[in-house]
C-alpha cells in the first residue's frame, strides 16, 4: 500500500528527531508566551522552555491533565486570539466538554495527517467512502471527510442516520470503505443480519476509537468479510491521523512529525524504557491554536521503535486494554468514577457506586451500580425503588448527557 508523504513517514530517525526538537522548542516557546496555564505550570515547576535541549529534557516539565484543561474553559487554552480560530470542537468527556480550537493552518495540517492515515489503510481516489461518525460528538467525522476528499475519494456523509438507512446507503452506492466507530460498524453488520456480505462492494472499515477493541474488530471482519484498520485518537488531540494501523497490522503508526509520545509510569510520571507498558502522554508539535504539552491520555500503551515492513519509520503504538485511571469511555464520551459519584451523591449522599460498560447489540451503555445502606428500601414496594432509579437516571442524564442503566444493590452485598 502506498505512502502519502514519504518524507516524514519514512524519515531517518535522526532527521525526524531534529524536526521534533525544533517543533517542540517552538511549541514550548509559544505556549509559555501565550497560554496562562502553561506559563503558571512551568513557573511553578521552575522550568523554562530554553531548558529543553533534547527531546528527553521534556521529562522535567509538568504533565497536563484533563482537569487542567477544564479549569481554563472556554478559551483559556488558546495560544492565538479567538478571531484566528476558524473551528471549535468541544470534546466531550469527564467533567464536561473541553474545547479544541483550530486555525486555518491547523485544519490543513490535520487534513493532511488524516489523509496519510486513510492512505495507510488503503483508501484511494477510487473509493466510495461512507462516514458514519457523529460529526458533533466527535471531531473525527469532519477530519475524515476532508481527508477522504483530499485524496479524491467519493464521500457519503452518513452521520446520524439510523443503521437501516446506513445499510441501504452501503448497498445502493457500492460503498467500498466504511469510516465509523467499532460499535457503529458492528451495529451496521447486525442490521445487515444474515444477508450474504459477498455481493457488497465493502472492502474495509477504518475504525476510529478512543480505546483498543480487538474483539470488536475481529467480529466486524468476520461478519462483513472485510479488513479493518484501527485509528486511535482523542478528541483533545487530533483524529483521525494521530495513530493508525497500516497493512501490516502490527501496531498503530504515530504521526511523529506532529506529536511527541512518551510512555510514562502512571504513578510517578517517570519515563519507561521502550517495550514497557505505561501511560501514553502526548505533546502536540504543530498545533497553533491549542497546543497541548505532556497531555495525559489515561491510555496504557507500549511504544515499538523497530521499523515496520510497510516502509514507515514512524514508531508504532501498541494499545493495551485497560486504563490507569478510573475513566470509562461510553460511545466516545469519557467519564471518571469521581464525576459520576458526585452526581449520584447529590441524591444519595455517601452512597458508593461503581461503573461498568455494557456491550449489547453493538451499542454501549454505562451501568451505574449504587450501593444502598438502607435495607428498608429493598423491603419497600418495587414501585418506590423504580421511582428512585428513574430519578437518579434523569439526574445523571442532566449532568452527564448520557442515558445510563442504574442498579441499586444492598451495601452488604456489594461489600462482599
Amino acid at each position: 500500500m502506498s505512502i502519502l508523504d514519504p518524507k516524514p513517514e519514512t524519515a531517518q530517525r535522526d532527521d525526524l528527531r531534529q524536526i521534533q526538537l525544533e517543533r517542540l522548542q517552538a511549541t514550548l516557546n509559544r505556549a509559555y508566551r501565550n497560554v496562562l496555564l502553561y506559563r503558571e505550570k512551568f513557573n511553578k515547576a521552575g522550568v523554562l522552555p530554553e531548558q529543553v535541549r533534547s527531546l528527553e529534557d521534556l521529562a522535567c516539565f509538568p504533565r497536563t491533565t484533563r482537569e487542567d484543561l477544564l479549569a481554563h474553559q472556554p478559551f483559556g487554552l488558546f495560544a492565538v486570539p479567538l478571531h484566528d480560530v476558524v473551528r471549535l470542537h468541544p470534546a466531550a468527556g469527564a467533567g464536561g466538554p473541553v474545547v479544541v480550537g483550530y486555525t486555518h493552518n491547523d485544519i490543513a495540517v490535520w487534513t493532511r495527517m488524516a489523509a496519510r492515515a486513510l492512505t495507510s489503510a488503503g483508501v484511494t481516489k477510487e473509493d466510495v467512502v461512507q462516514i458514519s461518525l457523529d460529526y458533533a460528538q466527535d471531531a473525527a467525522g469532519m477530519g475524515a471527510q476532508s481527508a477522504a476528499e483530499l485524496l479524491g475519494a467519493s464521500v457519503i456523509p452518513a452521520s446520524g442516520l439510523a443503521p437501516k438507512r446506513q445499510a441501504e446507503l452501503l448497498k445502493n452506492y457500492r460503498v467500498t470503505v466504511l469510516i465509523a466507530t467499532p460499535n457503529q460498524a458492528l451495529h451496521l453488520a447486525q442490521t445487515l443480519g444474515s444477508e450474504d456480505p459477498a455481493p457488497l462492494s465493502l472492502r474495509s472499515a477504518f475504525l476510529v476509537a478512543h480505546a483498543w477493541t480487538p474483539d470488536l474488530h475481529k467480529e466486524i471482519e468476520e461478519r462483513l468479510q472485510i479488513k479493518t484498520y484501527a485509528s486511535y485518537g482523542l478528541s483533545e488531540m487530533t483524529e483521525p491521523g494521530l495513530a493508525t494501523e497500516c497493512g501490516e497490522h502490527n501496531g498503530l503508526h504515530l504521526s511523529e512529525d506532529n506529536f511527541l509520545a512518551e510512555i510514562l509510569d502512571p504513578e510517578t510520571g517517570a519515563p519507561l524504557a521502550a517495550g514497557q507498558a505505561g501511560e501514553l502522554t502526548l505533546t502536540t508539535l504543530t498545533r497553533e491554536a491549542t497546543p497541548l504539552i505532556r497531555y495525559r491520555t489515561g491510555c496504557l500503551a507500549i511504544l515499538h521503535p523497530e521499523p515496520c515492513a510497510c516502509g514507515r519509520t514512524l514508531q508504532r503504538i501498541e494499545l493495551v486494554s485497560g486504563r490507569i485511571d478510573n475513566i470509562v469511555t461510553v460511545e466516545g464520551v469519557r467519564l471518571t468514577l469521581e464525576q459520576v459519584q458526585e452526581v449520584v451523591n447529590d441524591l444519595l449522599p455517601g452512597a458508593p457506586c461503581n461503573l461498568a460498560v455494557l456491550q449489547e447489540d453493538g451499542a454501549e451503555t454505562l451501568e451505574v451500580r449504587i450501593a444502598i445502606d438502607d435495607p428498608s428500601l429493598f423491603a419497600d414496594q418495587m414501585k418506590h425503588m423504580q421511582a428512585l432509579r428513574e430519578h437518579i437516571k434523569a439526574h445523571l442524564f442532566e449532568h452527564l448527557g448520557l442515558w445510563t442503566v442504574v442498579r441499586l444493590v444492598e451495601q452488604t452485598r456489594e461489600e462482599k
Partner: protein, 249 residues
C-alpha cells in the same frame, strides 16, 4: 545539509540567541523572519564563524563545524553574503568575483565565472567596471556571485533586498530559485518577509532569540501572527501578493 542544535550567542552580556535549533535540507531555501533584534543576523554571523557561539552545535553535512574559524568554514562550504554587500568598490566586477574563488583552482574559478555570468548576464557586460559604480541591484548580484565562487554547499544571505527597488529585489530572489540545486542550499534572512516567504520552501520565525514558529512558507504566510507582525497591516492576499509569488517562483 545544515543542522543546528540549541545555538546560543551573546553580544557582551546580552543573550541574542537562546537555544535555537533549525535545519536546512539539501536543495532547500529556508528563511528566517523576525523583527529587528530578534537574533536573525546574529544567527548568520555565528554560522559564518564571525562570532563564537556560547553554546550549541552546528553540523554541516553531518560534520561538527562549531569550533571552526570563518576561513575554515568557507572551505567546508559555508558562504556568507553580508548585509550591505561589502564589495571592494575600486576593484572591477570580475576581480571581486575572482576574490570569492580564492579557495579554488584557477581553472575551476574560470568555469564558475561563466556560470555566474550566465546567472546574471548584466555582470558580464560590466565585468571591467569598478564595482562601486554599479547600481545597488547589480552590486547585490556581485556579492551573491562572489559567494557562489567558493561553490558553497550552504549560501547565507543577510538582507539581500535592503535598499533595492521592489522590482530589482524580485529579480534577485528569482535568481535564488535558479541557483539552488542538489549542491547548494540557501538560508535567508530578510526584512521583506512577504518576498522571502514567496521564494522559500520553509521558514522559522524568531522572537527575542527563540524560534516560536516553524513551517512551510505557505503555511507561515497563512499564519495570522506572521501576517500581523511581519507582513504589515495592509497585507492583502489579493493581486499584489499573488503577483509577487508568481514572479518570485
Amino acid at each position: 545539509m545544515l543542522r543546528i542544535e540549541n545555538l546560543a550567542a551573546a553580544y557582551g552580556q546580552i543573550l541574542a540567541l537562546k537555544g535555537v535549533s533549525l535545519h536546512v535540507s539539501r536543495g532547500e531555501i529556508v528563511t528566517l523572519i523576525g523583527a529587528n533584534g530578534s537574533g536573525k543576523s546574529t544567527l548568520l554571523a555565528a554560522l559564518a564563524g564571525l562570532i563564537r557561539p556560547k553554546d550549541g552545535t552546528v553540523y554541516l553535512k553531518g560534520k561538527d563545524v562549531t569550533r571552526l574559524s570563518a576561513e575554515q568554514r568557507v572551505r567546508k562550504g559555508i558562504a556568507l553574503v553580508p548585509e550591505g554587500r561589502q564589495l571592494f568598490a575600486p576593484m572591477t566586477v570580475e576581480d571581486n568575483l575572482i576574490l570569492g574563488g580564492y579557495t579554488r583552482s584557477q581553472s575551476d574559478a574560470r568555469e564558475d565565472l561563466e556560470m555566474i555570468y550566465n546567472l546574471f548576464p548584466i555582470l558580464r557586460e560590466r565585468r571591467e567596471q569598478a564595482a562601486g559604480t554599479l547600481s545597488g541591484g547589480q552590486q547585490q548580484m556581485v556579492a551573491i556571485g562572489r559567494a557562489l565562487m567558493s561553490r558553497p554547499a550552504l549560501l547565507l544571505l543577510d538582507e539581500p533586498s535592503m535598499g533595492l527597488a521592489p522590482k530589482i529585489s524580485r529579480e534577485i530572489f528569482q535568481s535564488l530559485r535558479i541557483l539552488v540545486n542538489a549542491e547548494t542550499s540557501v538560508l535567508l534572512v530578510e526584512q521583506n518577509a512577504r518576498l522571502a516567504l514567496a521564494v522559500s520552501d520553509r521558514g522559522y520565525v524568531l522572537e527575542t532569540g527563540q524560534v516560536v514558529l516553524e513551517g512551510e512558507s505557505a503555511s507561515l504566510r497563512n499564519n495570522h501572527d506572521v501576517q500581523r507582525a511581519y507582513l504589515g497591516r495592509g497585507y492583502q492576499e489579493g493581486w499584489e501578493t499573488n503577483q509577487e509569488t508568481a514572479n518570485a517562483r
